[in-house]
Symmetry: C2
Subunit: 341 residues, 2 copies
């Protein structure tokens, strides 16, 4: 339906561009891929229409990668880890893309992947594509952009896609709902720092990796792995049927990297075998559909200029207990549903 | 605004009824109070308009009670506890109302307070008003009805209002957002059954009471109280500044009841002194306002007949990964916002 409208609106201009862009992406043109991601990040209305069309073009060519979520506290070495594992993979002739979700980057300016020198080796490799976290105020917006970037990268033939996130707010949950496998990186230090990591995040992890297992920390890291394994053996069985695995690695010295990849491949085979892989991707699509509906609905209401004014007044009356919150809400809703066209 | 409309719509019929009803409630007419609560529970559109008007009438006369939430696992003795404490209060000439939130009652038919014989002594007392859990499919609906029943009971001069809930789903959170103080009842049994109670619920509690501290269980109950106090000393400080208290009681033998009331009065004085009481009621009004807006918005969308049909089709396309969830959601939203009038 929306595609037909687009045909009608601009038979000579937009469509050839988008089709050309999609074809260039399919041929693996990195510059066009970068431009396409920028298009999906744009807030301009005409860009958004083009971006939706492009995504629908690419959708049938997407889905063939393994999507790997990577999380862990700041300083745990996520970027070094991804660079080590990514380099290992491009050396095996695999195409690797790295994306990030970091809703805090607008505030702190300390964006993950924002500093391009952090993955210098990987980002200069012809088989790798590294993209900083998109700008965006809301997690929902950032999540949409990242999920669309995944589709575009897959269309361009990237076989392994990393999505890096830092443990702030709900960003792990968002990443969890867009990847096939979820890695949690921890530091050697036997249990202490697990306190800082929310239980829900630990429960999402398919592989828990104690990083920085090198030099003097090697034994400490091994002890930590064992302590985590002991502490977490009571975790509920996962829907995938996969039992979480515990590892040590040194991203810096590149030890444990091949083993991590072997485990990821083993998870991949396991979840494809028992059909969880496909089921999970379907559930994720459903999740984002309903999530987008709810967010869009709220945005259309709370960002409506007339509602904004009335809301302020109504809220004040409610807080002063001059008006029932239910009655005030209903009156505002009635007004909104009558006024939108 | 809505009041003016009502004046205009029905100058001779509705308003006198509602004004009469409100006056009767203020005089303490229990039959009219019961009818008024039934009116707020009705799904008929004209009843709902009348109910809103009635609530706005009563609002200035409400708010003067202490609202007490009571939760605990099934079998812990919530009803017996409320009957014992309620009887203690009516014997001191206090007016006591008992309400309930039980969103499961529609399914299990095992409604709390549904069996009227369970609080026979209290419900027959002229100073007490006992009302079963309202029917309603959604927690939001049940919560609104209960909160409006609180306002009506306060208008009728009830000074102590109990809201009983059973630990299912989000009902504790709902009750927590409508009471001044939250009591958690536990059984003697030293820590074991705390496993079954969600941490969030324990964190809401202002007073944790080990019930059934009688006969052979007396020592066990005292040990349990100590065990809970030890296990829970690490709880974060509450926004109210109140440090949760631990007690034992026997609702059956009516021991510890006077002490519980003394603690409730002490909390009441403390939270009024440090102004948390008023602040909390304001925050709660704001919570229900935004909660109602969000729920009403979603209901208007997801229960729209045309949307229902389109949603099914769109969801299927999304799950088959033929369509981007974001694009499909946006198309549905665009359609909805254009079509509603």
């Amino acid at each position: 339906m929306s595609e037909q409208n687009l045909h009608f609106d601009s038979p000579h201009k937009r469509l050839p561009d988008i089709a050309d862009m999609a074809e260039a992406i399919r041929r693996g043109d990195r510059i066009k891929l970068g431009q396409a991601i920028t298009l999906t990040e744009s807030t301009r209305a005409d860009h958004q229409i083009q971006a939706r069309e492009l995504i629908n073009y690419c959708l049938p060519h997407s889905g063939k990668s393994i999507r790997i979520g990577v999380t862990g506290s700041p300083g745990v070495g996520k970027s070094t880890f991804i660079e080590a594992l990514g380099s290992y993979l491009v050396n095996q002739n695999k195409k690797v893309a790295v994306l990030a979700i970091d809703p805090t980057s607008q505030i702190s300016k300390g964006s993950i992947l924002g500093d391009k020198t952090r993955m210098e080796k990987l980002s200069n490799h012809p088989l790798a594509f590294v993209r900083p976290s998109p700008a965006g105020e809301s997690l929902g917006g950032v999540a949409r952009k990242t999920r669309e970037a995944i589709i575009l990268c897959e269309t361009a033939g990237y076989e392994v896609i990393f999505v890096e996130t830092v443990g702030v707010g709900q960003s792990e949950t968002a990443v969890h709902y867009m990847v096939d496998i979820f890695l949690l990186l921890l530091l050697p230090g036997a249990g202490d720092e697990l306190q800082g990591i929310k239980r829900g995040i630990v429960e999402m992890a398919d592989i828990i990796i104690v990083n920085k297992a090198d030099g003097e920390r090697l034994n400490l890291a091994k002890q930590a792995r064992q302590a985590y394994a002991n502490a977490l053996h009571f975790l509920l069985p996962k829907e995938s049927g996969w039992v979480p695995k515990f590892m040590t690695c040194s991203a810096l010295y590149e030890t444990g990297i091949a083993e991590t990849w072997a485990l990821i491949k083993s998870f991949n085979a396991f979840s494809k075998e028992n059909l969880f892989f496909e089921k999970n991707r379907k559930q994720q699509a459903g999740y984002w559909f309903y999530q987008s509906l709810r967010e869009g609905l709220e945005r259309s209401f709370f960002e409506n200029e007339i509602i904004k004014q009335q809301l302020k007044q109504a809220e004040a009356e409610v807080l002063e207990q001059k008006r029932s919150p239910f009655e005030a809400a209903q009156a505002l809703l009635d007004f909104f549903l009558k006024s939108v066209k």
